[in-house]
């Protein structure tokens, strides 16, 4: 019994220490952002890899999410003779929840895993030690630019997701199922307020932080062995998904 309690206690302490290390890692990344030399070129490079290169997957998932919402929304609303509310239902759903969350999932799968794998393999092959030995701080060189790029890219990708999602639902609702185009957009215009837009974008900024922070951290502390990179990648993706959903709940409850 005592040994079981000891194990639980040790596990709890390890988890708390891990969380503390993660938070310290984040603060360190922010602190290094403001120390010279500025890393504008690296930030632009990572905006390209996190943002531009995720665009196709975000476009594709956005348009199909919108199409499904158009289809499901139409048949649900028809039961109440409320098909004209399709536009507002789709827009509110996308702007507040599905846009930020699903685009964050897409970026986690495509870019977050790549970040963890890249930094993890740099750790395993001593490239991070090489940076230290050249008097270059790896957090400043590898982590801070990615976090800044994530903060900038994620809301832009979410905005793209929202727009193509709305047009995907339009394609199905108006083009295939016969909802009037005027009522689709008029309903949207009357029900969507600025708060819906910025609350969604604010969520996406925080998701951008979560994805880059967790992925960089997991890569940075990848176990120094061949399987370590795979382990770090898997853990980063799973943790990102969970944190995105948990954080989404808290943000929604605060911003409603």
């Amino acid at each position: 019994m005592i040994s079981l309690l000891g194990l639980i206690g040790r596990w709890t302490l390890e988890q708390l220490a891990g969380m503390g290390r993660m938070v310290r890692f984040l603060f360190s990344a922010f602190a290094w952002t403001f120390r010279p030399p500025p890393r504008f070129r690296l930030i632009v490079y990572h905006i390209k890899s996190i943002g531009v290169e995720s665009l196709s997957v975000v476009l594709l998932s956005g348009v199909f999410t919108g199409m499904v919402m158009g289809l499901q929304g139409y048949y649900s609303l028809r039961k109440f003779n409320a098909e004209s509310f399709l536009g507002s239902a789709v827009a509110l759903g996308l702007l507040r929840e599905l846009g930020p969350v699903l685009s964050a999932f897409m970026v986690t799968g495509r870019t977050g895993s790549a970040i963890a794998a890249e930094i993890g393999s740099m750790k395993v092959t001593e490239q991070i030690d090489a940076l230290y030995s050249m008097a270059i701080n790896p957090i400043q060189y590898l982590v801070s630019p990615r976090i800044i790029a994530g903060l900038i890219s994620m809301p832009l990708l979410t905005a793209v997701f929202d727009v193509v999602g709305i047009y995907g639902a339009y394609l199905v609702g108006v083009g295939l199922l016969g909802v009037s185009s005027g009522s689709y957009f008029a309903g949207m215009e009357s029900s969507v307020v600025f708060h819906d837009v910025w609350s969604g974008l604010l969520k996406s900024v925080s998701f951008g932080l979560i994805i880059t922070w967790i992925s960089c951290y997991k890569g940075f502390y990848a176990p120094p062995m061949a399987t370590g990179v795979g382990q770090a990648t898997t853990e980063s993706v799973v943790l990102c998904f969970i944190l995105i959903l948990v954080w989404d709940y808290f943000m929604t409850s605060v911003m409603l």
Binding site: M122, E126, Q127, D129, A130, S133, M134, A135, I136
Partner: protein
Amino acid sequence: MIKVVDLHKSFAGHMVLKGINLELETGKITTIIGGSGSGKTVLLKHLNALLLPDRGGVLVDGKDIIKLGERDLNEVRQKFGVLFQGAALLDSMTLYDNVAFPLREKTKMSESEIQKRVEERLAQVGLASMGYKYPAEVSGGMKKRAGLARALAMEPEIVLFDEPTTGLDPLLGKSIHHLIGKMHATFGFTGVIVSHDIPEVFKISDRVAMLANGTIVEVGSTEEFVESNNPVVRQFLQKDIEGPLSVL
């Protein structure tokens, strides 16, 4: 002069270094030999504070680098060049950019000056026309040579070599030793080589130290070392399975 004082290091309760005391003379090449897992690389990584000890210190020109803050430590680290075991080239960059990297990051040299320096270093290691290649596109030997070019790019006072010939065939290993010797003659750096490639590595070493069971069991000039009567040294040099060192 680098002085290692009473260095202790353990990992997960396993003591790897048990009080190392060692002086590395300026301008000389000191080779640290020892069996696999004896802690040679761990010791080497303490010399520029890539690892921090549990106890003890590392004095570089009289300063204990273990106690330095980040800014001062980075100043000291710029005196060092390191050739890592797997070369540790940044795989997102070409060989040229790898060699240029510390110069771009840490000096105010113009791009034309950097180009001149990089091309010179690549030529010195026999990679004059290979600068456009990525690390994944070249052989292990070429990676080591590019790593050596990068280690020497900043003209460091001290160069650390972590098993520079591991994984290479004997001929290529010999050529890397020859290259290290040639570069040492050109630049006059203080060299520290970690290796178990004996006796080949002795040809370029001024001094040899042997690490076994977490301590330095013998240190001296190469000639003295080869003549040593220490049973641990004799067993290692004669490659005997039986002896004071447990092999398996």
